[in-house]
């Protein structure tokens, strides 16, 4: 069972740059990702918005595998700040999981 934490997105949101809610789940980002990361970013962002913290924490390696190359952003019809959102997730994990 997945536990939803409605405050999770506020914990991750360091600034207004986290605009994952603009994602309309079209899948272009996953299709063009050079790392072939199917999870990033649409499913991952949905986990954050739904408060599925455990699901996010299960996918730490994927979050750090992102190249921040912005190929997804260049193709995103909703203008989601994908790379910055991923970076903010890393900031959250560094602080709250890895304690660095």
């Amino acid at each position: 069972m997945t536990v939803a934490n409605p405050n999770f997105v506020e914990e991750v949101k360091k600034s207004n740059e986290f605009n994952a809610s603009a994602c309309m789940n079209c899948g272009v980002c996953s299709a063009v990702c050079p790392m072939g990361i199917e999870l990033l970013p649409r499913k991952l962002f949905r986990y954050v918005l739904l408060g599925f913290k455990d699901k996010v924490l299960e996918n730490k390696e994927t979050i750090y595998s992102c190249l921040l190359c912005r190929m997804c952003e260049a193709n995103c019809p909703a203008k989601v700040h994908i790379a910055e959102n991923v970076r903010l997730l890393r900031y959250y994990l560094n602080k709250n999981v890895f304690r660095v």
Partner: protein, 318 residues
């Protein structure tokens, strides 16, 4: 077993905080490129390396060590390495690049300086005060440590009364032009890459190279800093016929380099995909980022000759 994310990031962040660079190298090795150029120290305009080219041989040597231990039980020891590294700079022991490789990257920097001189630009260097920008730590999400470091770097620019910064690589360009202003109020440096400056100065070629070349655009120049036309103008004016790979310009394919510090094998797989695209259109290629150059080079297997763009520009413009 993959490299431990937290401890690896911790070592890089500790290095930046304690030693002002993710991979600390000696001032002698960091400034060797400027020998014989007679550049003044400081000034209104400076050529700023951000130590990227100088660090690449050390990054390559470190990555070779990382690739050997990735997926072995030795990675368990990295947590102890982080403790030791706080007192002793482990880079000195783990990353020992060849003199030949160091010299080749130093030469690229000297070439860039000579091109700017040829274009009539007056500039100085900050020598041992030319610090790493913190790009990798920022990418890994260590914003607090980056902010502290950015303030140190900015203070150096202010100390030398610098107004214009000429950068040599996309990552330093992005950090100084687009990231630092988010952290520093009243940030007022004018930052441009050397390729932008050369085009603005309308540098004219001395020789026509009459050759074909495939261009690998850097993701950061293409999608973060919109530096896309300058490299093409400089190469085409030099008589080079540019060949574009399947993914090019705004839609350039990443070299995989950003994954290198945590996932060396994934970085190599990405490099192989990109090299396949490049060699499909030409047997000679140019990069404009030292990280792209070193990462793609691992995947070439002698099937394509890749060089930094400055190597070609020097042949045409000097």
């Amino acid at each position: 077993m993959p490299l431990p994310i937290g401890d690896t990031i911790g070592i890089l962040a500790d290095n930046l905080k304690i030693r002002k660079s993710v991979l600390p190298i000696s001032a002698k090795n960091a400034t060797k490129w400027a020998e014989g150029l007679d550049l003044p120290k400081g000034g209104e305009t400076v050529l700023y390396t951000g130590m990227m080219y100088q660090l690449i041989p050390y990054i390559e040597a470190m990555n070779k060590a990382q690739e050997k231990i990735e997926d072995t039980r030795i990675v368990d020891l990295i947590k102890y390495g982080r403790i030791v590294n706080k007192a002793v700079n482990l880079t000195d022991f783990m990353a020992r690049p060849s003199k030949e490789l160091r010299d080749s990257f130093d030469k690229m920097l000297a070439n860039i300086a000579k091109l700017l001189q040829k274009a009539g630009v007056e500039f100085g260097s900050l020598y041992e005060d030319d610090l790493y920008s913190g790009a990798l730590v920022y990418d890994l999400g260590m914003d607090d440590i980056l902010e502290e470091h950015a303030r140190k770097v900015y203070a150096v620019f202010k100390k030398y009364q610098v107004k214009n910064v000429i950068t040599v690589d996309p990552h330093t360009t992005n950090m100084l032009r687009s990231v630092y202003p988010k952290f520093i109020r009243d940030y007022d440096l004018n930052v441009r890459s050397y390729m932008e400056v050369l085009v603005e100065k309308n540098i004219q070629p001395k020789n026509q190279l009459d050759m074909e070349l495939v261009l690998h655009d850097s993701c950061v120049y293409a999608r973060y800093e919109n530096v896309l036309s300058q490299q093409r103008t400089l190469l085409q004016n030099a008589g080079i016929t540019l060949k574009e790979p399947v993914d090019s310009g705004t839609f350039t394919l990443c070299c995989g380099g950003p994954a290198e510090s945590l996932f060396p094998k994934k970085a190599r797989e990405s490099a192989c995909k990109r090299v396949d695209q490049l060699k499909a259109v030409c047997s000679k290629g140019a990069t404009m980022c030292p990280i792209c150059l070193v990462n793609l080079h691992k995947a070439t297997q002698g099937e394509i000759e890749l060089q930094d763009i400055s190597d070609y520009l020097v042949k045409a413009y000097l």
